[in-house]
Symmetry: C2
Subunit: 312 residues, 2 copies
């Protein structure tokens, strides 16, 4: 299908065209940049909610149960699940995506999974781009779901307007989330599986931790039991409270910051790609040999390589 035709169908709200365009973008297929260029002016209408947390915290179940609440308000919901699973497991842990059966068949809900291809940084960028596609298609709410363990996930959820960090009542998770840098980007905390373990202790620990951080917005902590449909209304309210706190100016500032970071990333990636083309790699190899032979230090070799790249 010609790109023009594809875009026409996309703008006519054809879900098949949407799926094709997402695949083009995910695979960096020829024409994907033109497509993103063409749809960019239609973006900005969607509210992005990032849902992150350790494996098994119940992120998917929470989104399953939140979605109908937004559907009841006639809002269209897209769910983008990103799994930067290590190549070792081959993405098998993404199996939990085979759920959400209740949501299937609803035209106003679109679900898409993305797994790692190539570098991890690439996933964060591709997720941003797919979010733009979903936004331009006309979804009102975009859930960005990702396992919270490292920098890539932080990058992914930072592309959200409101970030929800999902934990279970175990202090180990809190430490892990803290280490991964997730505590400071969370706008709302959700202690899921609150019927198990010591949920109130977890909430108190979180409160203590949060009181140490000086922030204008004190993130609310919501207890939920997703599987029993408990606390979901409160979670939705907490998300909306954060949106109200941000206000129009705060939201725009956050989105502008996100745009700035995205632009920087696009440029750095492009530059990296051009640096390591055929000739660049050959040059690198010969410098590796010289450093290996102790003719040069690594920094000397790097400086020489940069000079050569500038001359190209």
């Amino acid at each position: 299908m010609a790109l023009e035709q594809l875009l026409k169908r996309f703008f006519a709200h054809d879900t098949i065209a949407l799926a094709k365009i997402i695949s083009l973008v995910e695979n960096r297929a020829p024409g994907y940049q033109e497509i993103l260029d063409a749809l960019y002016s239609r973006t900005g209408g969607a509210y992005r909610i990032g849902i992150t947390g350790p494996p098994g915290a119940g992120k998917s179940s929470l989104i399953d149960k939140l979605t109908p609440l937004y559907r009841a308000e006639a809002k269209r919901v897209a769910i983008l699940a990103c799994d930067p699973t290590s190549p070792f497991t081959g993405g098998a842990l993404l199996g939990d995506r085979i759920r959400m059966l209740d949501l299937l068949g609803d035209e106003g809900v679109y679900i898409r999974s993305m797994a790692t291809r190539g570098s991890l940084g690439g996933l964060a960028k591709a997720a941003q781009e797919v979010a733009l596609v979903l936004d331009a298609f006309g979804f009102d709410i975009i859930f960005l779901e990702t396992i919270g363990v490292g920098q890539v996930e932080v990058d992914i959820v930072q592309a959200a307007d409101t970030v929800v960090l999902v934990l279970v009542p175990q202090s180990g998770d809190v430490v892990q989330a803290m280490k991964a840098g997730l505590m400071e980007i969370a706008d709302v905390f959700c202690v899921n599986k609150a019927d198990q373990g010591e949920a109130d202790v977890a909430v108190r620990n979180l409160q203590t931790m949060l009181s140490l951080a000086m922030r204008d917005w004190i993130p609310p902590i919501v207890k939920t039991v997703a599987t029993a449909n408990q606390g979901l209304e409160q979670l939705k309210e907490a998300i909306e409270k954060h949106r109200v706190f941000l206000g129009e100016a705060g939201l725009q500032a956050r989105r502008r910051e996100r745009l700035r970071a995205f632009l920087r990333q696009l440029i750095e990636d492009e530059l990296r790609t051009s640096l390591w083309d055929g000739e660049g790699l050959k040059h690198l190899e010969s410098q590796v040999e010289r450093v290996w032979a102790k003719e040069l230090s690594p920094h000397q070799a790097a400086r020489e390589l940069l000079k050569a790249a500038a001359r190209r």
Copy 2:
């Protein structure tokens, strides 16, 4: 102190000069590249052992107990502990460094902690550079200790000749480590605190997981109780077994690969720095405005910025 004088004292095995040089490198102080250039030819004698794993797994205690075993062979040991703690905690979790009291006062042991400064990627690079300094100083064994939660830690321990992944008998850790991409880079597995929980179950789970990966080297799994000095000899043997498996050719191949990755990183960092100088940032801001106003798409803006950078 002049750099020349400092280097002279460094090569005369003055520990104060060592500490000063590490600080220069860590802080990117003027002259640090010259110093690294000057000492590079003396590197290559040290064997690097990476020790990683989740917080609380007992990495520090293990190193505490392994060190005397190497000291008994008259080997000089350096311990470089890297903590990419989030700015939220202000590095407070590094408190466990106030241990190793047994090792203090031993001239043949040097301990140094590094915490995050600025970007996380910076820590991996600085750790590599400090490892070169310790190598050139004449240490036989360098322990690279880091909390295993994300890509940065993976980068840090990948600069090791043998990587030990420390876990405790809880399956949650195994999943986390897998997610963080640590399973495939571990050469030796250590199930510490083997007197607690179901250590044998953990070992069996690991064995199952490892049997799925097709590798020449089947990583041994060693049970330890660091605090009770149990299993340490076996852990040391497992590390040496891996060294023997690598052989001279394998070790050199691994180190050459490491050098290649390090060179690439040096160049990319340098390029990034030059891209975002004063003028580059000004240009970025004006493009952010235009994309914000929907005059351009992000990709169009990135392409224009790159063209401008090439002209500079």
